[in-house]
């Protein structure tokens, strides 16, 4: 599983901050925003393919956190609670819009060291195709891949967010990756 440095945060500290927000010190939410806004943006961007949509959805997640602060119990990781809000928000958004937009960030690929210009172009093309294949998957399959590969979440955390078991999530990720490989192969061979 990908170990994202963005996720190496102290969950106790997150909980303490959120409990302060709940107690009325809402200024502390800005610290949680600094910690998690990029991670949430990454999640929504990988799900939606749109920078604008992702920014709006990040804003909505923090708005909901602010409004639902009295419901926060302080049990479990703050990030799991936050991603549960993000997951529900995305589900609502997808139900209403059902549209993925992949066109606005094609120039953002990072350069890979040690590759010639041609190789770099080919590499970028592969990543573009892989991303297209990722977006050809159903919403729930794409989500488990994103949560496990990019958000650095353990399978039990994902299971907690999606309301299922760790074993079921592991198998779901495997099947999603298998389908992704098939879709990727189809796009490569076009």
């Amino acid at each position: 599983m990908n170990s994202n440095p963005e996720t190496n945060l102290d969950p106790v500290s997150d909980t303490a901050l959120m409990l302060k927000v709940k107690a009325g010190d809402i200024e502390k939410l800005s610290l949680l925003y600094e910690r998690y806004s990029k991670m949430l943006f990454g999640f929504f961007w990988r799900m939606s393919g749109s920078v604008e949509t992702s920014e709006d959805l990040v804003q909505t997640v923090f708005y909901r956190i602010l409004k639902k602060r009295s419901q926060y119990k302080g049990k479990g990781k703050f990030s799991s609670w936050m991603f549960q809000i993000a997951h529900n928000l995305w589900a609502d958004h997808y139900k209403k819009n059902h549209r993925i937009d992949l066109k606005d960030d094609m120039e953002r690929w990072e350069l890979k060291e040690g590759l010639s210009t041609d190789e770099q172009i080919e590499h970028e093309e592969q990543l573009r195709q892989l991303r297209t294949a990722l977006h050809s998957l159903s919403d729930d399959k794409r989500e488990v891949i994103i949560l496990s590969r990019y958000q650095g979440m353990k399978y039990n955390e994902i299971a907690n967010i999606l309301g299922t078991t760790e074993g079921a999530i592991k198998i779901k990720v495997f099947r999603a990756l298998t389908e992704l490989r098939e879709q990727y192969a189809k796009i490569e061979n076009r």
Binding site: M1, S30, S37, V58, L127, R149, Y150, I171, L180, R181
Partner: protein
């Protein structure tokens, strides 16, 4: 392909959670199941490529919007607190150090007053309801007594007399009925019962006069002796002329005559 049973193990491999030995064992097992290992390598390569898809940076506007939202929420909370503060201001004044001892003293007096009031004065409503109920029961028993006392059956008349004993303050009608029964009832037992009932009401002048007047109407030795004893007990001197009239009767029982004579001596 029977890769189903190896799905979780393959995920461990792709996540890099297997040792070199465990990875070899997995590959060997998959090979034996007829699984094309190049598919595993392709998936491994694809997973590494997935990790290379980096998300872009969000625009600065996103952060600005967040802080704007936070400021709005803070203003909303502050404004809510200010209105609550304005609402509670008069009460807060009362809690200032100057007024606090007076407030506490007044509260203490109020509480003590309430406790004493509750303790000393019973619930008026309850008292009223109880007295109303008692009155209703009294009038019901009076009605029963007056109805039964005219019945032909002696047992009913005895019951009527017994009801009058339960009345705390029998009215004139009941007293008249008891005196009439004492003088005229054909049953000795009923007459004795009414005498017993009247003996509890000797504080009433009507009863005392009625008892004296009834002496000459009695023909039962038992009743005559009982009345004589009662007159001695209440020291009713007005009974003497009535006793003398009885002594003049030729049919008077000898024992009664002795009792009456003795009574006249005591009362004289």
């Amino acid at each position: 392909m029977k890769e189903e049973k190896y799905q979780e193990r393959i995920m461990d491999y792709l996540d890099g959670n297997l040792t070199a030995k465990q990875a070899e064992e997995l590959k060997k097992a998959l090979r034996e199941e007829g699984y094309d290992l190049s598919r595993l390598d392709e998936m491994d390569e694809m997973v590494r490529q997935l990790d290379e898809i980096r998300a872009p940076e969000p625009r600065e506007e996103m952060k600005e919007k967040f802080f704007h939202m936070l400021e709005e929420e803070k203003s909303r909370i502050e404004s809510k607190e200010r209105s609550l503060d304005a609402l509670l201001k008069p009460f807060r004044t009362l809690l200032e150090p100057v007024y606090l001892p007076k407030m506490l003293y007044a509260s203490l007096i109020l509480i003590v007053g309430m406790i004493l009031g509750h303790w000393i004065i019973p619930d008026k409503q309850f008292q009223y309801q109880t007295s109303l109920m008692m009155e209703e029961m009294q009038s019901m028993k009076t009605l029963m007594a007056l109805t039964l006392i005219d019945q032909s059956n002696a047992t009913d008349r005895l019951k009527a007399v017994s009801y009058t004993g339960e009345l705390s303050n029998p009215d004139e009608k009941v007293l008249e009925a008891l005196l009439k029964t004492l003088s005229n009832d054909p049953s000795v037992n009923v007459r004795l019962a009414s005498l017993d009932a009247l003996s509890r009401l000797i504080g009433n002048e009507t009863v005392r006069t009625g008892l004296v007047e009834s002496i000459s109407n009695q023909d039962s030795p038992l009743v005559q002796i009982a009345i004589a004893e009662l007159m001695i007990t209440i020291q009713e001197k007005r009974a003497i002329p009535e006793f003398e009239k009885l002594l003049d009767r030729e049919d008077l029982n000898q024992t009664v005559a002795e009792k009456i004579t003795e009574s006249i001596k005591i009362l004289t």
